[in-house]
């Protein structure tokens, strides 16, 4: 480390340190910047209504199902597939769950117990159906070898029809108790300080987790003999993150009485954490990226391609089932038009979040941020009473520009804005004899000096 510090050009020192603020991140920071910008923009132009507690709750409840879908979709897209059926699968599962819960009754049991059982059975049935649908689609993709585009295009029709078949093309209401997963809140308890107590506790838990995570990553960095960011970088990053967490906690805790951080948001948060861990830290996660990056190389490395493809497709349908249930809980009914166009919303979120169309690249966090960009934009424009026609036009352009900017900066061989902000920090530096000048060590993605290794993205071989 000392070697780089002395040999790196003086002027870049500050920027390099700044970059460490985002150490360990993915490509999503550019789009995170865009999200912050959009929030600030609308906060100003809607006279502060954007960050109003109630509006934030609406924002989360109104988009939880799309964000949940984006989690599954990013894994499908990373593996090099696409799933067009998610909306129909969600609608199908939704109508079955509504139908099942409508038919259930436990006359012998007390009221509370009975409704708990109804909801519980409904959710279990929904997840099982999602898994069955997923196994069906996964089997066609992984074991028969039909492209996912075709399998899920078929699924889109199949499960849309199944929804209307089961529901007789009508809407079926869900029990009041079921609504908590899509539009519910944590029950308040304890003394009234003018805040939602469960939200405060939730916020405190997140604060502890963030601090613990930062500490753990420093310990890991030390163990890896890696280039440890200076303490002040850690502290600044912690302060920024904690400020956001505390701010959000206070906002959500001061909504209308009876509200708290929404349940749907908690479900989403748990899924984001779980699937981020799955994709980053587990062997199956690695295998998904390996298959998407170069399936032939993955196959020759002992990866069971079929298993991976089956898993991502099946998992997507389970997630779609969950999204479907969150939706019917929010809407209080399952209808024949549910889920129309959701696949496109989820796919847009994933691509705005920095995933590659050809597979192999993408993150869960990025996709969520991508989804939030669209959600905040949509919400802000609606608060400004911009018509739905124009809102759609703007959303289309944002998708195009977000992906276009990234592609363009990469093609120019320039560090993309996103890349510039997000380069991972490396470990110990090696200056072997005859290595290139010291500057090589600057961790900037660029058309580096090494010939034969740099070609425009369109010439990159793809498996």
């Amino acid at each position: 480390m000392s070697e780089t510090a002395t040999r790196a050009p003086e002027k870049s020192g500050g920027i390099r340190e700044l970059r460490k603020l985002f150490a360990g991140g993915g490509r999503q920071y550019g789009i995170l910047g865009a999200l912050v910008f959009i929030i600030v923009f609308f906060q100003i132009f809607t006279d502060g209504k954007t960050l109003d507690p109630i509006n934030l709750i609406n924002l989360i409840n109104g988009n939880a199902y799309v964000l949940v879908l984006a989690i599954g979709m990013v894994m499908v897209i990373v593996a090099g597939h696409i799933d067009l059926s998610v909306g129909s699968v969600a609608a199908f599962v939704g109508i079955v769950v509504a139908q099942v819960m409508k038919g259930l009754s436990f006359p012998g049991l007390p009221e509370g117990m009975s409704s708990f059982l109804t909801v519980f059975i409904g959710i279990i049935v929904g997840l099982i159906i999602g898994a069955l649908v997923g196994a069906w689609q996964g089997w066609w993709v992984a074991y028969v070898g039909v492209p996912a585009f075709i399998v899920t295009l078929a699924g889109m029709l199949l499960f849309r029809g199944a929804n209307q078949f089961v529901g007789n093309s009508t809407s079926i209401p869900v029990p009041q108790e079921f609504k908590f997963i899509g539009g519910g809140f944590l029950n308040d308890f304890g003394p009234d300080f003018g805040f939602s107590n469960p939200t405060l506790i939730l916020g405190a838990l997140v604060v502890v987790a963030v601090i613990w995570q930062e500490r753990r990553s420093r310990v890991a960095q030390r163990k890896m003999g890696a280039d440890i960011a200076p303490l002040w970088v850690s502290i600044v990053r912690l302060v920024v993150v904690l400020a956001v967490v505390v701010g959000a906690t206070l906002l959500f805790a001061t909504g209308r009485v009876g509200t708290s951080f929404p349940i749907a948001g908690i479900i989403l948060g748990v899924l984001v954490l779980g699937y981020s861990f799955l994709t980053n830290n587990t062997t199956i996660g690695r295998h998904i990226f390996a298959v998407g990056g170069n399936w032939r190389a993955a196959e020759l490395s002992g990866v069971n391609i079929r298993k991976v493809n089956f898993f991502v497709m099946a998992n997507m349908s389970v997630i779609a089932a969950l999204a479907g249930m969150i939706w019917i809980a929010r809407s209080a009914a399952s209808g024949p038009g549910d889920g129309v166009g959701w696949e496109l919303d989820a796919i847009s979120a994933v691509f705005i979040g920095g995933a590659a169309v050809s597979g192999g690249i993408g993150t869960v966090a990025g996709s969520i941020i991508g989804g939030l960009v669209i959600a905040v934009l949509n919400n802000g424009l609606q608060l400004l009473s911009v018509g739905a026609d124009r809102v759609q036009m703007i959303k289309g352009l944002v998708l195009l520009i977000a992906v276009g900017v990234d592609v363009y900066s990469k093609r120019q061989g320039r560090p993309s804005i996103i890349g510039l902000l997000t380069r991972k920090r490396g470990g110990e530096l090696d200056v072997s004899p005859g290595a290139k000048p010291a500057g090589t060590q600057t961790p900037t993605p660029s058309a580096g000096g090494a010939e034969e290794t740099v070609r425009p993205p369109d010439q990159q071989p793809r498996g």
Binding site: T283, R286, A297, E299, G302, N304, D430, K436, A450
Partner: protein, 520 residues
């Protein structure tokens, strides 16, 4: 430079070209003088800056992004893009051919430059012009043939024909013979001589030093972004060793490391191996092949491309090629069942593919993830990857294999060919194999890295592992192997110890089914 006093007219002078990428000086005051009508070779290790220099010349890196002057045909030129340089008669042919496989030769020749009559493509005159152009490069194929149906050698010629159509004055060829076999290479070199006779100047970048020696008039050697020297082949009495000395800055005393360690008992045995073509039912790609590998031994496999070497190797490695028909594998005398890649890895077999970009690496990954990718279980608890162990393991290989990279966080696509190959080797060494199958382990990498790879191979053998090395380069096989099998049309035709083998004997067995050809 030293040639400035020369009276022969120059077509190109690049003066003190400096090109920096963020943090890297790829070219440092490089000067290059090319005379009219000569063949000028540029040599250097991978990463030395050869391709960057050519990209500066052809306008891929536009004027303003580099420092220094380019004087072409007596005028200072400032190319903003490749179109401008082409308009002045500078055509660059890249290693990856820019031809479209599903279009015909004619369509490719005139792509973007179609002869038209009133806005409609005039196919009649296009055909006629195509025939003329093909004749000039010595091709007699029907211009309606699809590109995918002609070999790589002919494709290379089509590229040159395309350049001729653009009235080329200065032709730049980047590794033109890398993918070609002996006779195609020869044909291409002859063609370059012919073009030279017609006054076309060529700049050729190549790793094949024997070819350079045979064809070039002058050689400029680039090392670490600096022009080291320009040699005149005839006057300076240049030979391969002289070029290598210039490229690596030292003499490679012995390109092949000594064989140390003893060859032990039989470790791995393949018996009566038969494999069918995956698509053609009655075509056998491996016929009744049997061979053995001992502990501490490097076994070479010599054969021409298409002889069935790769097919044999991949079918052993978890039946990843073709349709298995019959045969058995033995390790330490016991039969092992290997029906998929995972079985192969579990049984200590590793296969380093000949095509590292398509089959060996995920180019989107970084080094550390690539190194551990074939045996994640080794660094995982349950199915959770321990990132600290991952870092430590990859760091170990970075040091021991001397992979040139600042950190193991670097993407493998940023590495040179030789270093990518080291990553692939590391990936397979990480699986703790007993038997390593190396398929063309030194293809497309430079001399220095080759020597390092040979060292790694011998080290592995010295550790008691069995190594199978497939190669098209006979000197390499003879220099590194202990024992060599020859293979022809899917069958093993001969076996000899490296000491008693020589290129002629090998070549004979590689080109005929005659068993046990008499040794010369």
């Amino acid at each position: 430079m030293e040639l400035e006093g020369n009276s022969e007219p120059t077509i190109l002078e690049m003066r003190s070209i400096t090109k920096e990428f963020p943090g890297v000086k790829a070219l440092d005051e490089v000067s290059l003088t090319v005379k009219v009508g000569e063949i000028h070779a540029i040599c250097g290790e991978n990463g030395a800056g050869k391709s960057t220099l050519m990209k500066v010349l052809s306008g891929v890196y536009p004027f303003g992004t580099y420092a220094g002057d380019i004087v072409y045909q007596g005028k200072t030129v400032k190319f903003r893009d490749i179109k401008q340089s082409e308009a002045d008669g500078i055509v660059i042919i890249h290693q990856e051919l820019a031809l479209i496989p599903l279009l015909s030769i004619t369509e490719n020749l005139f792509l973007g430059n179609e002869p038209t009559k009133r806005g409609v493509i005039d196919w009649v005159s296009a055909q006629k012009m195509a025939r003329d152009l093909l004749a000039r490069v010595g091709l007699s194929d029907d211009p309606d043939t699809l590109i995918k149906d002609i070999g790589v050698g002919k494709q290379q010629l089509v590229e040159i024909a395309k350049a001729l159509h653009k009235s080329v004055k200065l032709l730049i060829l980047d590794e033109p013979t890398a993918a070609l076999n002996e006779s195609d290479s020869q044909h291409l070199l002859d063609l370059l001589r012919g073009l030279k006779g017609r006054g076309i100047t060529s700049i050729i970048i190549s790793h094949k030093l024997n070819e350079i020696e045979a064809i070039a008039d002058e050689i400029t050697i680039i090392r670490d972004g600096k022009a080291i020297e320009t040699l005149n082949v005839r006057d300076d009495g240049v030979d391969e060793d002289r070029i290598i000395r210039g490229m690596v800055g030292r003499t490679l005393e012995n390109r092949f490391p000594p064989r140390i360690g003893d060859v032990g008992e039989v470790l791995f045995e393949v018996k009566n191996w038969n494999v069918r073509h995956p698509l053609v039912a009655d075509r056998m790609v491996v016929k009744n092949s049997s061979f053995t590998v001992r502990r501490g031994e490097v076994v070479g496999f010599a054969g021409l491309m298409g002889a069935g070497r790769t097919e044999l190797a991949m079918s052993i490695f978890g039946r990843s090629y073709g349709v298995f028909q019959s045969g058995a594998l033995f390790k330490d005398g016991k039969e092992i069942k290997v029906t998929n890649v995972q079985d192969a890895i579990d049984n200590g077999i590793a296969y380093v593919s000949e095509d590292r970009k398509a089959l060996g690496l995920n180019l989107l990954d970084d080094i550390k993830r690539s190194v551990v990718s074939a045996k994640l279980s080794k660094i995982s608890k349950g199915s959770v990857v321990d990132k600290v162990e991952e870092y430590q393991a990859s760091e170990r290989y970075r040091k021991s294999l001397r992979i040139k990279t600042p950190t193991v966080y670097e993407g493998v696509n940023k590495l040179s060919g030789g270093n990518q190959q080291k990553v692939v080797l590391a990936k397979w060494m990480f699986t703790d194999p007993d038997i390593l199958i190396l398929d063309e382990p030194t293809r497309g990498i430079d001399v220095g890295a080759k020597t390092e790879i040979y060292g790694i191979i011998r080290d592995l053998a010295a550790q008691g592992k069995g190594v199978i090395m497939i190669s098209s380069e006979l000197p390499e096989l003879l220099g590194v192997s202990d024992r060599i099998y020859t293979i022809f049309e899917g069958a093993i035709t001969n076996e000899m110890s490296a000491d008693e083998a020589d290129p002629e004997t090998l070549m004979k067995s590689m080109t005929s089914t005659e068993k046990r050809a008499p040794k010369l």
